[in-house]
Amino acid sequence: MGIYVKDLKHFATTVLQCELENDGDHVRYTLRVNSKDIATFKYSRSWRGNFQIPEFILHKQAQSMHCPLQMWKALIQERVSKEVYFSALLKQELIDQVDFETLCKR
């Protein structure tokens, strides 16, 4: 099953509650917690909601978000909870326990 821009947008804004910025020709989403920029990704503003994101680009986004491609796809498709992702970030020491709890409460 493909992943569309509208799925990604929904996940980034509603589930992860990333901060949205219009960054020139791109739309940028940043996962920010306790004044720290944990991860960020962007995509072309020209992409419409029904544009199916190529696998290779999803892979690059997953790298930017510090998680494996399979987890990134499962997160967007809401087959995996955000807590699993935040745990992965905690395990990599990209966030601390306080950050983890803050993110989970959102």
Binding site: H26, K36, F56, L94
Partner: protein, 140 residues
Amino acid sequence: MKAMILYLQETASTKLYGTTGSVTTSISYVDLRIANAIVLAEDTNNCNIREGVVISRLTPQVSAKVIQPFSIQLFLSEEGYMAVSNLCNICELEKTRGEAVRSYLYSLVSEFVWLQKHEESLSRPLQEELNRIRTYIRMV
């Protein structure tokens, strides 16, 4: 339409991107034409971005100069050409190879600007990415 302009400048000791093979002192105000020339100068899908190349954008008005050569890799997909490099995780998708290279260079400058702006609050991998980009380009 992209509100950016790509300037490419080279020193007298380097060859002009393209097929003439002549020694050229500088090229000013070039955009897609030079991006296409970069692509045409390569036999493979590895495009070498040479030291001295200046990438300028108008909004916001910033320029970055290549201080160490790097490669942009192009991949053909059903949707078009994807451009990536080892500098960071950005990926640009365009219809042609030249457009992909141009977009990648613009996007790289944007990424650099964003990372510098947020330097104080970056996580370890983002800080590493900024440091890596800094070894290849600098703002001018």
